[in-house]
C-alpha cells in the first residue's frame, strides 16, 4: 500500500503553486494565531527552532524526522541544547503527553486558508502533532497551493487510505460565551518554519 506521504508529490502541480503564494499563506496562517518563520536555508531553520525552544524553556521534545529537519540537524541541535529528544514510536507514546514540544514535517500549505496538509498515517506523527503544548512543523516554502480546491486535486490522487488532514493554527474553542480561547485539547501554539532552500537530494 502506498500512503499519501510517499506519493503526493507526483501530483503536486508544477504550475499554480510555489513560493509566490507564500505571503498570502503566511498572512492567513498568522490571522489564525499561527506563528510563521520563513528562512532561507537549513542553518537559519535550526536557529529559528532553537529560539522557540529557548523561549518555552523546553526540556523534553518528541520528534518525527523529515528531510528538512535532517538537513538542518534539528535533533542533534536539540540534544546539544540539553533537551531530551524522543524519536521512536514507543518512546513518543510514552512521552508525548508530557513533552514541551512536538516537531514534525508537513507536505504542503494552502494560501487560501493558511492551512498545512499533513499525512498522519504514522502514529508517531499524530501523537507529536496533537499532545504537546507547542507544535512546530517544517515546510518547504515553495510547497504552497492557492486553495482548497487545488489541495484536493492533489489529495484525490494520492489519498487512498490512511489518516490525512489540514492543520490551521493552534487548537481553539469559543464554547464559553463565544470568547476565543487558544489551546484546548491540542497545542496552544503552532509554529511553521518554512525553508526556501531544498534539502540536499532535492526531495523534501
Amino acid at each position: 500500500m502506498e500512503i499519501t506521504h510517499e506519493i503526493w508529490k507526483r501530483h503536486f502541480p508544477a504550475e499554480n503553486s510555489g513560493a509566490h503564494l507564500f505571503p498570502e499563506f503566511e498572512m492567513r496562517a498568522k490571522a489564525v494565531s499561527g506563528e510563521v518563520f520563513r528562512v532561507p536555508a537549513a542553518a537559519e531553520a535550526r536557529e529559528a527552532l532553537i529560539r522557540l525552544v529557548d523561549a518555552v524553556q523546553a526540556r523534553k521534545a518528541v520528534v518525527v524526522e523529515s528531510p528538512l529537519q535532517e538537513a538542518a540537524g534539528i535533533t542533534a541541535a536539540l540534544r546539544s541544547r540539553g533537551v531530551t529528544v524522543y524519536t521512536e514510536a514507543a518512546d513518543i507514546a510514552a512521552h508525548a503527553d508530557t513533552a514541551d514540544i512536538g516537531i514534525s514535517g508537513v507536505e504542503f500549505g494552502i494560501a487560501e486558508t493558511g492551512s498545512v496538509f499533513q499525512d498522519g498515517y504514522d502514529i508517531a506523527t499524530r501523537l507529536v502533532t496533537i499532545l504537546p503544548p507547542l507544535h512546530v512543523v517544517f515546510l518547504q516554502s515553495a510547497h504552497i497551493v492557492p486553495g482548497i480546491t487545488e489541495a484536493f486535486d492533489i489529495i484525490s490522487q494520492s489519498f487512498d487510505r490512511g489518516y490525512v488532514g489540514f492543520i490551521t493554527g493552534p487548537s481553539r474553542t469559543a464554547d464559553i460565551e463565544r470568547v476565543l480561547t487558544i489551546g484546548v485539547h491540542g497545542p496552544s501554539r503552532f509554529a511553521i518554519i518554512a525553508v526556501d532552500e531544498e534539502p540536499k537530494g532535492g526531495d523534501a
Partner: protein, 722 residues
C-alpha cells in the same frame, strides 16, 4: 394540543426572561452576518459555491443506495467493519455488544449529532460504560445535565458563571469564572480521559464513497485525540453525510467552516480511510498495533426522506447552523424551546419530524414564521419554510385540522359572503375593544385564535363599498387592470386600496375591482388545509379572469405569491390547472409594476423636497418576489428622502398564527424593528405589504407615535394632484 401549547408558551416566556440567553444570542446574531461575510471574502462567488454544494448533494441523494454500497465496500476493503443501523436501538445494541466483547470500560466521544439524536451516551452509561463528551461545549452541557441549544455552539445559552459552577461541582474544587482558566481545567481533566479510554466514538462531517474515508472538522483537536489514542474507533455517520468522491469534500469544505463559524478553515480537518496504527500498552511496553475501526451508518428515517420527492432536500444540510444564526425566532429563544432535541430551529423542526416521527413536529413548526431569512444563507440552499409548509399540509392530511379551525375554514372562510359579512359585523362589534394591535391574516381571528388579543381594527367602510366613488372613467386606457386587494386592504386599509386606484388611474389605466374576489388562501394553506385553499383559488380565478384583464395588480407580496402559486396548487386539476397558469402570468406586484410604468414615462427619477422616509422590506417581498429596489426608487421619485434602517429586511415579527399565538415572542421582534425605525429619525415608515403594515402600525402606535406607517401606494397617491 391545548396543554402542549400552553407548555411551549410557558417555556418561551421563560426563555425570554433568561437574560444570559437573550444577551448571548442577541450579541451573536449581530456579529454573525458580519463575520460570515468576511469569511467569504476570499472564497470567490458565494452563490456559485452554494449551487455547487446543492447540486452535488442532489446528485448524491438520487443514487444514495449506490453511494452507500460503494462507501461500505471501500471501507470494508480497507479493513473497517461497517454496520448499517436501521434505528437508534440497532446502534445501541451493536455498541453495547462490541464493548462487552472487547472489554471496553471507558469511552471518549467527540461531537456526533447522530449519537445525540439517539441519546447514545445515556444508554451507554446505563449499560455501565463510562462515556465522556470531549468537545468542551458538549462536556459543559453534559455536566449541566442539559441538551445542546445550538448545533455548532452547544453551550451558547450558558454564562461563564454558570459554567464555573458546573466545573466546580464536577472537579470538586472551586473553579473561578475565568474563561482561560476553565478551558485549561477542562484540558487537564479530559486529557486523562483520552489517555485512559479503550474506545473513541466520533461523528463525521462527510463520508467519501470513493475510498471509504470519513472526514471530520473540529477546532479543539478532540476529534484527533478520539480517533488516535484509543485502540478502537467507532464512527457514527448518517446517510445524508455520504458524498461520492474525494473532491466532493472540497465542495463542502469551501463553505462549511465559513458558514458555521466564520472561519476559512477549522483548526483541524481530518480524513480517515481505513484503520491506522495505534500505540497499545502490552506488558508495560508500548507497541504499535493496527487499530480496530467500525463505521455505523445510521438510517433512522433518513432513507425514507431520501425517497421522498420533497424531503430528500434535507440531504443538502451540512449542519452548519447558519439558518439558526439568522432566524428571528431562534435568536430570541434559543434551541431548547424546540423540544430540547438535537436539531433546533426551522431545519430542526423538519429533521425532528423525519427522525423522530410527526408527533414531535406539531409544536415546533409553529416557531417558523416563514420569513425566509434562512434561505438566503443556507449553503445547501434548502427551502426550510417551504418544507415546513409541506409538512403542515401532510400533517393536516393525516390528522385533520383542530376542530375550530376546520369549522372556520370550511364553513366561513371558504364562503365568501358569510366571511365578508362577519368581517363587517366585526367592524361594528369591535368598537369598545379596538386598539392598535391587529391581526395579520384576518381569517384567524374568526377561528378564536385571538383570545388574548384585541380584534383587528376593521374599517367602517371596506374598499369594496367605495369602488363606485373612486373609479374614474378612463377613455382610452393603456391597460385594463383588475385589482386584487386581499382581505387586509379591503377591510383594514381601504385607503391604501384607494391609493392604488389613484396611482394606476393616473397612469391612464382602467381599474376594476371584482366583487367576487375572496381571501387569497395564504392563512389557510399556511396551516396545511389544502382543500379549502383550492376552493378559494378557484373562486378567485373565476372572479378575476371574468373581467378579462391585461394585468392583475396586487399590493401585498403574500397575496401576490398566493395567486402565483395557484398553478402549482391546482396542477393536477385538468380544468383549473391551465386556467391558474394563464392567470399567474398576469399577476403583478404593485410597486414593481408601477416602477416599470413610471420608468417608461420618465417619472422614475429622484426628485427631493419630501419627508424623511425609511423603508421596511417585507420578507415575502424581498425573498420570494425578489423586489427591493423598485419601492425605494418609487419613494425617491415621490420626493422622499430615503434613510435606510438597520436590518431593513428583517422580519417584523407577525406572521399568521405565530404572531397571535406567540404574542410574547412576536413583540420583541417587533420592538427591534421599531427601534431600528426610531434610529433613522424618519417621519414615515413605508412598506409595500399590508400584513407588515398591520404589525408595524400596531408597534408604532404604542412605542413611536410620532412616526406614521404608510404603504408606498399611499405616498405615491399623495403626490398626484386631483
Amino acid at each position: 394540543m391545548e396543554t402542549e401549547m400552553r407548555n411551549l408558551r410557558k417555556e418561551i416566556s421563560e426563555k425570554l426572561k433568561d437574560e444570559t440567553l437573550r444577551d448571548a444570542l442577541g450579541r451573536f446574531s449581530e456579529a454573525y452576518p458580519i463575520a460570515r461575510a468576511k469569511a467569504y471574502e476570499n472564497a470567490g462567488d458565494i452563490e456559485t459555491l452554494r449551487d455547487a454544494l446543492r447540486q452535488m448533494k442532489i446528485d448524491t441523494v438520487e443514487r444514495i443506495e449506490e453511494v452507500a454500497d460503494r462507501f461500505e465496500a471501500e471501507a470494508t476493503k480497507r479493513g473497517v467493519k461497517v454496520f448499517r443501523a436501521k434505528t437508534g436501538n440497532d446502534v445501541k445494541e451493536y455498541l453495547v455488544n462490541l464493548c462487552k466483547e472487547k472489554g471496553v470500560k471507558r469511552i471518549v466521544k467527540s461531537k456526533s449529532m447522530a449519537s445525540e439524536e439517539i441519546d447514545l451516551s445515556k444508554h451507554l452509561e446505563t449499560a455501565g460504560i463510562s462515556t465522556t463528551e470531549t468537545d468542551l461545549g458538549e462536556w459543559i452541557v453534559a455536566l449541566a445535565g442539559q441538551k445542546p441549544s445550538h448545533m455548532v455552539m452547544p453551550a451558547i445559552h450558558l454564562s461563564r458563571f454558570q459554567v464555573a459552577e458546573y466545573f466546580s461541582k464536577e472537579l470538586k474544587t472551586v473553579i473561578p469564572p475565568d474563561i482561560a482558566f476553565m478551558v485549561q481545567a477542562a484540558r487537564t481533566e479530559l486529557r486523562e480521559k483520552f489517555l485512559q479510554a479503550d474506545m473513541g466514538i466520533s461523528g463525521a462531517n462527510f463520508g467519501i464513497a470513493e475510498n471509504g474515508a470519513i472526514g471530520i472538522v473540529t477546532n479543539e483537536g478532540n476529534a484527533r485525540m478520539v480517533t488516535t489514542l484509543p485502540r478502537i474507533h467507532v464512527v457514527i455517520i448518517g446517510y445524508e453525510k455520504l458524498i461520492p468522491t474525494i473532491k466532493d469534500a472540497a465542495t463542502i469544505l469551501k463553505v462549511l467552516p465559513r458558514s458555521a463559524t466564520a472561519q476559512l478553515m477549522t483548526s483541524y480537518m481530518t480524513m480517515i480511510a481505513g484503520p491506522t496504527p495505534a500505540m497499545v500498552k502490552r506488558d508495560g511496553k508500548w507497541v504499535e498495533e493496527e487499530k480496530e475501526m467500525h463505521i455505523i451508518l445510521l438510517d433512522n428515517g433518513r432513507l425514507k426522506a431520501a425517497h421522498d420527492d420533497k424531503f430528500k432536500e434535507i440531504f443538502q444540510c451540512v449542519r452548519c447552523a447558519s439558518c439558526l444564526n439568522v432566524c428571528p425566532v431562534y435568536t430570541l429563544i434559543g434551541g431548547h424551546v424546540y423540544g430540547g432535541h438535537t436539531y433546533a430551529g426551522g431545519i430542526g423542526a423538519i429533521l425532528t419530524a423525519f427522525l423522530s416521527g410527526m408527533g414531535e413536529f406539531e409544536q415546533f413548526q409553529e416557531l417558523c414564521i416563514g420569513c425566509r431569512r434562512c434561505t438566503t444563507v443556507c449553503p445547501g440552499k434548502i427551502d426550510i419554510p417551504g418544507l415546513i409548509e409541506e409538512l403542515r399540509i401532510r400533517n393536516v392530511k393525516e390528522k385533520g385540522l383542530p376542530f375550530l379551525l376546520k369549522q372556520t375554514f370550511e364553513n366561513v372562510v371558504s364562503n365568501r359572503k358569510l366571511f365578508h359579512g362577519l368581517l363587517r359585523l366585526a367592524a361594528i362589534g369591535q368598537k369598545p375593544f379596538q386598539s392598535g394591535r391587529l391581526i395579520r391574516h384576518l381569517p384567524l381571528f374568526l377561528a378564536g385564535m385571538a383570545k388574548d388579543r384585541s380584534l383587528p381594527a376593521i374599517a367602517d367602510t371596506p374598499l369594496r363599498n367605495r369602488i363606485g366613488k373612486i373609479t374614474k372613467k378612463i377613455d382610452k386606457p393603456d391597460k385594463r387592470i383588475v385589482f386584487f386587494s386581499g382581505c387586509t386592504i379591503d377591510f383594514v386599509f381601504p385607503e391604501t386600496g384607494e391609493s392604488v386606484f389613484k396611482v394606476l388611474q393616473d397612469l391612464n389605466m382602467e381599474v376594476l375591482f371584482p366583487e367576487g374576489q375572496s381571501c387569497c388562501g395564504k392563512p389557510v394553506i399556511a396551516l396545511g388545509d389544502v382543500e379549502t385553499t383550492k376552493k378559494l383559488a378557484k373562486e378567485n380565478i373565476r372572479a378575476l379572469e371574468e373581467q378579462n384583464p391585461d394585468v392583475i395588480i396586487v399590493a401585498c407580496p403574500t397575496c401576490t405569491e398566493s395567486l402565483q402559486q395557484y398553478a402549482e396548487l391546482l396542477k393536477d386539476d385538468p380544468e383549473w390547472g391551465p386556467k391558474a397558469e394563464t392567470m399567474a402570468k398576469k399577476v403583478r406586484e404593485f410597486c414593481s409594476f408601477v416602477a416599470e410604468e413610471y420608468g417608461k414615462r420618465g417619472r422614475l427619477t429622484k426628485t427631493g423636497g419630501g419627508p424623511k422616509v425609511t423603508y421596511h422590506d417585507s420578507c415575502h417581498m424581498k425573498r420570494v418576489l425578489m423586489i427591493d429596489k423598485e419601492p425605494r426608487q418609487l419613494l425617491e421619485a415621490a420626493g422622499c428622502e430615503l434613510i435606510e434602517m438597520k436590518d431593513a429586511d428583517k422580519c417584523c415579527g407577525m406572521s399568521g398564527i405565530f404572531g397571535v399565538k406567540y404574542a410574547e415572542l412576536s413583540m420583541p421582534i417587533l420592538e427591534q424593528k421599531i427601534n431600528n425605525i426610531r434610529d433613522t429619525g424618519a417621519e414615515i415608515a413605508a412598506c409595500a405589504c399590508s400584513g407588515c403594515m398591520v404589525q408595524i402600525q400596531g408597534g408604532l402606535d404604542k412605542q413611536l407615535p410620532g412616526v406614521r406607517m404608510k404603504h408606498v401606494a399611499d405616498i405615491l397617491a399623495e403626490k398626484i394632484k386631483e
